[in-house]
Symmetry: C2
Subunit: 266 residues, 2 copies
């Protein structure tokens, strides 16, 4: 690591001003950078070789000295500067400027992942980040943000992913139909998760249908999957509802589907 | 239904002022009442016989006329009065004052539920509501709010439950150890969901251990289950982590556990 002199960066220091702009989606897209905050996310970002510059308060750089030692560029900042960079009230004194880590769909599929999650048009960053985290835990190799989905580098999504943004291959693709074609060309079955699907998840598990490379499609909580994607999937699958609930929420449904696949793919 | 004259209630009408106080926990606890907003929650509340008074804008009472016809007491209110009552920006014009629906643990266990969720010390109302919804979907008969848990009648919890608050038996009990004793006396096995549990969820499912009446204990996202509850459970169960994620979030872990039980109990 190299540290800048003894002077603490303030909210007006140009590098802080520039980093702060990464709170805006347009700036993230133009620069190919984003912010990760808190020791857990920063640790994963460092491990992934994604950190360009680490900003920390003096207390935090002291407390997380081993972590800071692994970052290439480290700058000590005032509490006010840290606060200006952070999205949350308690980022525990650390915010890192990271390079975006997504790769192309072709590259991700070349690694032959057996489990993939496709977030189609998912707008809520908390849901998107939770799906990243759950897909990672279930052993998915890739998560595809398709269509008009949230920016995976949105601060809330980064936080909800709890580091999984740096563990799985993240792919961004605006054309969901091309994603489906590529998945099928790679020999991956495409299952659409939908409340009224014709296939029951437990039945598919019993029949051994989940023991093959699988991509799960998840739509937005408000609107579900668009009709063309539903029609284009190999199967439309429902999580069985045993009680009186109308449906599961998106993150819970994704967890149940991804873990059914994980069970079959053990 | 009986409607109050032609006069619209305003934010200053005493019954609106009184209803509005139910946004505070203390007032809910003293009165045994709470607020449910939006047509879905109100519909479930009416079906459960829990609605004391339904407030709606003129447009909403017109749009949801059939629903309003099923409520005993209906009052038309100004947009401002509705806004003052509602927690969300878009409650779609309806807010109902409901009587609290929770029952005692003994009464709930007398119905011999085969699946129960226990939320111990869960403080986040969104998580608590999601667990209610997921437990309902998985076929649970009861959800117990134990220890220092969030008020299940908190507006955010009511919304996240998406009506399930009115479908399953809700129990509130401040003494988790007494809850465990009662569960065991009723022949229900107690499984603590915990990231580092000795038992793997899939192994228990394979071994047929989930095909018996089961109560799942879930702790807070921040602190997990307290040590005494972990020790008192019959088993400590982990959801297997196949990837690099450190853990699942609470709602996802609860979904996977409850649906593993649902699969075994089919």
């Amino acid at each position: 690591m190299s540290r800048d002199g003894g002077r603490l960066f303030t909210p007006r220091t140009p590098r802080i001003v520039a980093a702060r702009r990464l709170q805006r989606r347009r700036e993230r897209e133009q620069s190919g950078r984003f912010l990760a905050e808190g020791p857990q996310a920063v640790r994963e970002a460092v491990a992934a070789g994604a950190v360009i510059e680490l900003f920390g308060t003096v207390a935090a750089l002291d407390r997380y000295a081993a972590l800071a030692a692994d970052a290439e560029q480290v700058s000590a900042v005032t509490d006010e500067a840290l606060e200006a960079l952070a999205d949350t009230v308690q980022p525990q004194g650390l915010v890192a400027v990271c390079r975006q880590v997504d790769i192309g769909l072709r590259e991700a599929l070349a690694k032959r992942p057996r489990l993939i999650a496709v977030a189609a048009d998912i707008r809520d960053p908390g849901n998107a980040g939770t799906i990243l985290r759950t897909a990672d835990a279930a052993g998915a190799g890739a998560v595809v943000f398709a269509g008009d989905a949230v920016d995976p580098y949105n601060g809330k999504c980064v936080r909800a992913s709890a580091g999984s943004l740096f563990h799985v291959d993240v792919v961004r693709d605006r054309a969901p139909d091309a994603v489906l074609d590529a998945l099928r060309a790679a020999g991956v079955q495409v299952l659409a998760a939908t409340g009224h699907g014709a296939d029951d998840l437990d039945d598919l598990l019993d029949a051994g249908e989940l023991a093959r490379p699988t991509a799960w499609l998840f739509g937005s909580e408000a609107h579900g999957l668009p009709a063309d994607l539903l029609a284009a999937a190999d199967r439309r699958v429902r999580v069985p509802i045993h009680g009186a609930a109308e449906s599961l929420n998106l993150a819970a449904a994704a967890a149940v589907c991804l873990y059914a696949s994980a069970r079959a793919l053990r």
